[in-house]
């Protein structure tokens, strides 16, 4: 029996050595964000009345669906932290486990590295065993430092026994999803399949409990993530969900080891599905290919943007009362007469939303360069596809995608806002304010084309510029930067509706500028060498 685990120790040390930075980064990152949140809450909501106001804001189906239930009548800093942060952090920890386990098991197997290792006097189960050891150790370390970190903050309601349970909940979730992923790594034949199934379970568990927490309570009981808020940390401190999670983890652990011990190297318990033998008509063109390659990503982003919009929209109901008690936000909104807080909030939100919506279209353009780097562009250009045609295929998708993304976000925001605001929201008011940023998004697309056309290796400058735009426009409001700094970003030139009046001039010159950048970039792309 021990033969099957031969050299586990060596492999464990090897994983730790190979990924010491990646592992530390995950653990420290999660730990850091867990620690700063209660501190931020303490300075943002120093008095109980302010916290109760926050509790009121949280008391709607949209928020409960997102972060889960809590004892809103006793909304201390501790309860607030575990309510708003625990579930989402647990999802991130689950994601960490999924990515790491897949990396050490299926990815190595797929790349053929495992074959090399397996040809040495190493046990059949040693790789899986080493992976599980690394993941358990990582999650236990995360649990311990989280418990210690929270306990020493010196916040009264964030007590030691609650903090230990907080760390244990994160750790147990991480261990559970490590085992689930280890199980799927035996079932599927590819790393993508493993990640895909595991993330489906993670998101499925999250959605199941969202529905459960809002309406059908039984669903929360069958979702492991539904158990997370049931710990009621910093209130009742229930430990039974932890044992439930670890029990379930053991079942997956045993199944994973069993299947790994009986299957062939490189195979999975589920046979790979047969793919299509012929390309559909829609795939047989450069634009068809460009779309197909980015289809899954685009759908994921579309869903993400609707959720982002809806999340912002869902807080509109209690905004007026919320802002009145909060000085930081009032400062941020630099109150003018004649407009409501909600309208001012919408104006700032729209910039943020538009900046987020700019990410996928930029990715669409830079995808063309990524294809080149991967050596796949030659297949197209060596056939009767011109450089312009190729560039246009990716550009058209990007231009349409930008419109789609900003529209979906605005619709999500309006739909959720309309449901919670008394008297509803005017759709065109919201949609128009968001769509006004479309020319600035086009300008960014143009910039990406320019880089892909001339200096593709420097195209990350586009991301830096987008991030810069976010900083100056978001924090610019908060810290009252002079107006010209905001104008350094194309987004700063768009009138911030519904507060500002609509202006045509910046819209026109940004559109013209965007088109010029695209044309110049295309000329550059026609002239440069393809690097593969």
């Amino acid at each position: 029996m021990s033969e099957r685990f031969a050299k586990t120790g060596l492999l464990t040390r090897f994983i730790l050595k190979r990924d010491r930075f990646r592992l530390s980064l995950w653990v420290i990152g999660i730990w850091f964000f867990t620690i700063i949140v209660p501190l931020a809450f303490e300075s943002l909501y120093p008095s109980q009345s302010e916290r109760d106001m926050m509790a009121d804001t949280m008391n709607n189906p949209a928020m409960i669906a997102m972060v889960g239930p809590a004892d809103l009548s006793n909304y201390t800093i501790g309860v607030m932290t575990s309510h708003q942060m625990l579930l989402i952090t647990a999802v991130v920890v689950g994601l960490m486990s999924i990515l790491l386990v897949t990396r050490y098991t299926r990815t190595d197997e797929e790349d053929g590295k495992l074959e090399l290792i397996q040809s040495l006097p190493v046990g059949r189960l040693s790789t899986l065993n080493a992976t599980i050891i690394v993941l358990v150790v990582t999650n236990v370390i995360l649990a311990v430092i989280t418990a210690i970190g929270l306990s020493v903050l010196g916040i009264e309601s964030v007590d030691v026994s609650g903090s230990i349970l907080y760390g244990a909940t994160l750790g147990a979730t991480g261990i559970l999803f490590a085992m689930i992923t280890a199980f799927f790594a035996q079932i599927t034949e590819s790393s993508r399949g493993t990640i895909g199934l595991s993330i489906t379970v993670l998101l499925g568990a999250y959605l199941l409990r969202a529905i459960g927490d809002v309406s059908v309570e039984a669903l929360s009981w069958i979702s492991p993530l539904g158990w997370v808020p049931m710990t009621e940390i910093y209130a009742n401190n229930d430990w039974w969900p932890i044992f439930l999670m670890l029990g379930l983890a053991i079942i997956f652990f045993i199944a994973a080891y069993y299947f790994n011990s009986i299957r062939d190297l490189g195979s999975g318990m589920l046979p790979a599905r047969k793919g299509k033998i012929h390309a559909s008509r829609s795939l047989q063109s450069p634009i068809g290919l460009a779309f197909r390659l980015q289809r899954t990503g685009t759908i994921a982003w579309a869903v993400g943007m609707i959720v982002l919009g809806a999340t912002y929209g869902s807080v509109f109901g209690d905004l007026e009362s919320f802002f009145e008690g909060n000085e930081i936000f009032i400062e941020m909104l630099s109150i003018d007469g004649g407009t409501t807080y909600t309208e001012q909030f919408i104006a700032i939100l729209m910039v943020i939303v538009a900046l987020f919506a700019t990410i996928p279209p930029i990715m669409n353009v830079i995808k063309l360069y990524n294809e080149e780097k991967k050596g796949r562009i030659g297949h197209l250009l060596s056939r009767s596809v011109s450089r312009y045609q190729l560039l246009m295929s990716f550009l058209i998708i990007s231009i349409i995608n930008a419109f789609l993304m900003v529209s979906l976000t605005a619709i999500g925001l309006w739909a959720a806002g309309d449901a919670v605001v008394e008297g509803g929201l005017d759709f065109w008011n919201i949609y128009g304010a968001a769509l006004a940023y479309y020319p600035a998004m086009l300008f960014f697309i143009g910039l990406a084309v320019l880089f892909v056309g001339f200096k593709p290796r420097f195209s990350s400058i586009v991301w830096i510029y987008l991030f810069f735009s976010f900083i100056v426009l978001y924090f610019g409001e908060l810290f009252q930067f002079p107006e010209w700094i905001g104008k350094l970003s194309p987004f700063g030139h768009i009138p911030g509706m519904p507060i500002d009046e609509f202006e045509l001039l910046p819209i026109i010159w940004l559109t013209v500028g965007a088109m010029l950048l695209m044309i110049i970039g295309a000329l550059g792309y026609r002239r440069r060498d393809i690097q593969e």
Binding site: S190, R192, A272, K274, G275, K276, I277, H278, A279, S280, L283, Q284, S285, P286, L289, R292, L293, K374, G375, R376, G378, H379, L380, L381, S382, R383, S384, V385, S386, R527, R528, D529, I530, E532
Partner: protein, 300 residues
């Protein structure tokens, strides 16, 4: 009539001169072998011919059209297989073949099915699961499914097994019989020898020799294995005789083609028991260039 003609092609990447005045000509209905060590500039030349790289100076034309300016027009009439075939991991082999065939224009269903069967290829799998050889088959099937006027192959068989290599060779000969031209860059010299009418050898960005295999053989030496009754004293001193080796009863040496007559006369005076003569293989030719260049490089 020349289908493809490159004159004085030069390509610089920064300070590095990848090509230094390359001249190539491929005639109609001819299979041209393009050989040379790694990094000599084979792929760079081919990428210029495909309009993916812009030559720093010199001229390259296919069908009399400029390879950079008229790339799309030219590509409608050519087929290309790269040496490193990278494919989209989430598309199947069949989907990629259809896409490639469609992008070039033209659609010959029967031909596709025939090629898939001959190359023993499973088009239903995702490309991420294919080995190097199977990825090459995707590119080969897509290229051979189209009736091109010139086929450009850049080390197309480096991942194929010997059986598949033979299938490939049959298709190349079939294309030649149909009147198409082929530019075949390869490491497998026996393959080039079998298929090619003319050969160009490139080294460090320069064509160092080009011509038909026969012409090249005339310029070089034959291998001889001789067994005689009397010892052949003084053989090594004859002009045109090189690298004499005695192994047991046999003497192995090389003879310059133009000294053949006098050497045969010399050998026959010693009572021939056995005489074998073989023309130089392409490998001999290649290695001779390689060695002499390496030596001259070492001297300077």
């Amino acid at each position: 009539m020349s289908i493809l003609k490159a004159t004085n092609l030069t390509k610089k990447f920064g300070d590095f001169k990848a090509l230094d005045g390359v001249n190539i000509e491929v005639n109609e209905g001819e299979v041209f072998g393009f050989i040379g060590p790694n990094g000599a500039g084979k792929s760079t030349t081919i990428r210029i011919l495909l309009g993916m790289l812009k030559a720093t100076s010199g001229e390259a034309k296919i069908f009399g059209k400029d390879v950079w300016q008229d790339a799309v027009d030219i590509h409608k009439r050519i087929a290309y297989v790269p040496g490193d075939v990278n494919l989209w991991p989430n598309l199947t082999g069949g989907e990629v073949i259809d896409l490639f065939v469609k992008l070039r224009g033209g659609n010959n269903k029967n031909r596709r099915e025939e090629l898939i069967e001959r190359f023993n290829f499973d088009p239903s799998k995702k490309c991420r699961t294919y080995s190097k050889g199977n990825r090459q088959k995707v590119a080969l099937i897509a290229a051979l499914a189209s009736e091109a006027e010139i086929y450009i192959f850049d080390e197309p068989t480096s991942g194929l097994d010997p059986l598949m290599e033979r299938v490939f060779q049959e298709y190349v000969l079939e294309a030649k019989q149909a009147g198409s031209s082929v530019l075949l860059s390869s490491h497998i010299l026996s393959e080039v020898e079998k298929l090619c009418d003319r050969v160009g050898i490139i080294r460090q960005g320069k064509i160092i020799e080009s011509g038909s295999l026969n012409d090249m053989r005339h310029l070089t030496r034959s291998n001889m294995i001789v067994q005689t009754k009397k010892p052949m004293d003084g053989l090594a001193q004859l002009s045109g005789v090189h690298s004499v080796e005695e192994t047991g009863d046999e003497t192995i040496f090389q003879v310059d083609t133009d000294a053949m007559e006098s050497v045969i006369e010399f050998v026959s005076r010693h009572g021939v028991i056995k005489l074998e003569s073989a023309p130089p293989t392409l490998e001999d030719l290649f290695m001779r260039h390689y060695e002499t260049d390496a030596q001259s490089g070492g001297d300077s």
